[in-house]
């Protein structure tokens, strides 16, 4: 049976675990642990390996949803994780000191994967901080030669996460129709 995967990435606290939970059929396998490093300033617990969720499709196929651990010391895993992936969901926390820097970091780290597939960007915590605005993210992305979907996102909302993943799929194939 074919196995496919979508990768969720982004900095600590951006909502990767929650977003996967929002669309996963099974409760995601969380690998959170009490934070002991700089991360603890933002979250009491954090993902130390990777989050995992799954969507079961008609015909028995499965789409695995992997969330990368937020801390940079785990970035050796990212190449392995992305192999055979459908595309990348990048979540950014709008309350962080410099979300654009985060964005550039992750786009650079996954540049080969994005070039081979596609990326869709979700900006979280906009209810707590409404700046930078979505339009400013778009400007920054265009400077980098990218024009992906950028949506405001509440990771707890199935509809928000669902729309972002749908946009990723349409980026890969505009002619796509649901069966």
């Amino acid at each position: 049976m074919s196995q496919y995967k979508i990768i969720f990435t982004g900095p600590v606290g951006a909502g990767k675990t929650t977003a996967i939970s929002s669309i996963s059929d099974a409760p995601p396998v969380k690998t959170d642990a009490a934070a002991s490093d700089m991360t603890k300033n933002r979250k009491s617990s954090t993902t130390v390996a990777m989050d995992y969720g799954v969507m079961s499709l008609d015909g028995g196929e499965k789409v695995h949803l992997y969330g990368t651990p937020g801390q940079e010391r785990f970035d050796f895993m990212w190449d392995i994780l992305t192999q055979g992936g459908i595309g990348l969901i990048l979540l950014l926390d709008n309350t962080r000191a410099d979300p654009f820097q985060d964005m550039r970091f992750f786009l650079d780290a996954f540049s080969q994967f994005i070039s081979d597939t596609a990326v869709a960007v979700g900006v979280t915590q906009m209810d707590l901080s409404n700046t930078p605005a979505i339009s400013e993210y778009q400007k920054q992305l265009q400077k980098l030669g990218l024009n992906p979907p950028v949506f405001a996102l509440d990771a707890r909302e199935h509809n928000d996460v669902s729309l972002l993943v749908q946009a990723l799929l349409y980026t890969l194939d505009p002619g796509l129709v649901s069966e």
């Binding site: 405001a152 749908q166 946009a167």
Partner: protein, 392 residues
């Protein structure tokens, strides 16, 4: 308009509670300048039915049965096209109602066989008369106010489109010639004044109050918000109404102190400006394209709209993705993606209002139509994921 010395037209009212009945009676005497008087069913020359009443379908059938030749006027929030009836959109506009009543009265006097002013010759969506009656009959339930057929279509698109574009009895979108005339001029609608007011507010960097014959609209450029004491249903109706010169002459824009004004306002009435303009445009467009955009020339899109915070138009993501791969004419988008013209035009209208869509002037775009994008090898898989995400 009622001519001096003209006897009032005798009308009967149906589907109205005592309060609405009384209001309509006074409305005919006052704003409609006594054009009609309410009489008993037996004495009436014209029947007026509130088509949003729970049993409107039954009332209509009963009226037709009792006096088959008597003209029937339907009042509704939705645009209705039911054979041998005459439609007046709610909220009722005195001029419009008077025009319809005058027309019917004249026809009655000359003993003409009354032809409906909006004959049902174009069933653009295959809607049948009985379907319309079912809609009329179900209208009292708020959740049923959307046309059911349309809902089922749009719910399959991008996961839960719950509003509708509206219907246009005068345009058959399946007719290529009529398609090219399916435009609207924002200047004849509230939309134009909202866009202009927002520009002024941003340019001056100060909050503004837009006054009109409708409800005041407050614009706060600092937070990119608007405040309006109206729900979406009311806004949708007003957005779609073509305004006359009287509306334009009653428009004013006044600077306000944002801090003071915001304090006294209901918080749930604040809306994001972008989301507001987007939906206002969709409801103004009703599936038509804006004057100034030529559907035979390519258009381009600057970036993705923020779809998680906007009212969804069916197939909007497909159109976006296509336009970000190249400039296509709206007519080509319809063909390449095989989707309804109304959806393409509504989407183009909304993006145009947000300033993220333009008409290409590049010679290369004008000369060549880009090749339709090739299907992804995993299209079948992607379709299954889409189904899953949308809960199909």
């Amino acid at each position: 308009m009622k001519k001096a010395g003209q006897a009032p037209i005798k009308v009967a009212l149906y589907g109205m509670d005592p309060r609405s009945y009384k209001t309509m009676e006074l409305y005919l005497k006052g704003p409609c300048r006594g054009i009609a008087e309410v009489v008993s069913e037996g004495d009436a020359l014209i029947d007026i039915i509130d088509a949003d009443h729970a049993t409107a379908g039954d009332i209509l059938a009963a009226c037709r049965q009792k006096v088959p030749q008597r003209p029937i006027v339907l009042l509704s929030l939705q645009t209705l096209k039911i054979e041998n009836t005459h439609f007046v959109q709610k909220p009722v506009n005195a001029e419009q109602l008077m025009e319809v009543l005058n027309q019917l009265a004249r026809g009655k006097k000359t003993k003409e066989v009354l032809a409906p002013p909006v004959p049902v010759v174009k069933q653009t969506r295959g809607t049948t008369d009985s379907d319309q009656q079912r809609i009329v009959a179900d209208n009292s339930r708020p959740e049923a106010r959307q046309p059911q057929r349309k809902r089922s279509t749009v719910e399959n698109n991008e996961g839960g489109y719950t509003a509708f574009l509206g219907t246009l009895p005068d345009i058959d979108f399946n007719d290529p010639e009529q398609l090219l005339t399916a435009s609207y001029d924002a200047k004849s609608h509230l939309l134009h004044y909202v866009l202009s007011a927002y520009k002024v507010a941003c340019h001056q960097g100060s909050a503004q109050q837009l006054n009109s014959i409708w409800k005041p609209l407050l614009i706060f450029p600092d937070t990119r918000q608007v405040w309006l004491d109206a729900d979406d249903k009311q806004l949708r109706v007003f957005a779609g109404v073509e305004q006359n010169k009287m509306f334009a002459s009653n428009i004013s824009l006044v600077p306000i102190d944002a801090g003071t004004v915001k304090e006294g306002k209901a918080k749930d009435k604040f809306q994001d400006m972008e989301a507001f303009v987007w939906k206002l445009t969709i409801w103004t467009s009703k599936g038509r394209f804006p004057v100034g955009i030529n559907p035979a020339l390519p258009v381009f899109l600057r970036h993705w709209p923020n779809f998680t915070r906007l009212l969804l138009i069916p197939d909007a993501m497909r159109i976006t993705s296509l336009l970000l791969k190249g400039a296509y004419t709206p007519l080509d988008i319809i063909k390449v993606l095989n989707i309804k013209p109304q959806y393409v035009f509504a989407f183009i209208s909304a993006c145009h209002s947000l300033g993220i869509l333009g008409q290409s002037q590049r010679r290369s775009d004008l000369m060549l139509t880009p090749e339709p994008p090739k299907a992804n090898k995993k299209q079948n898989l992607f379709s299954k994921i889409l189904n899953k995400l949308r809960g199909d």
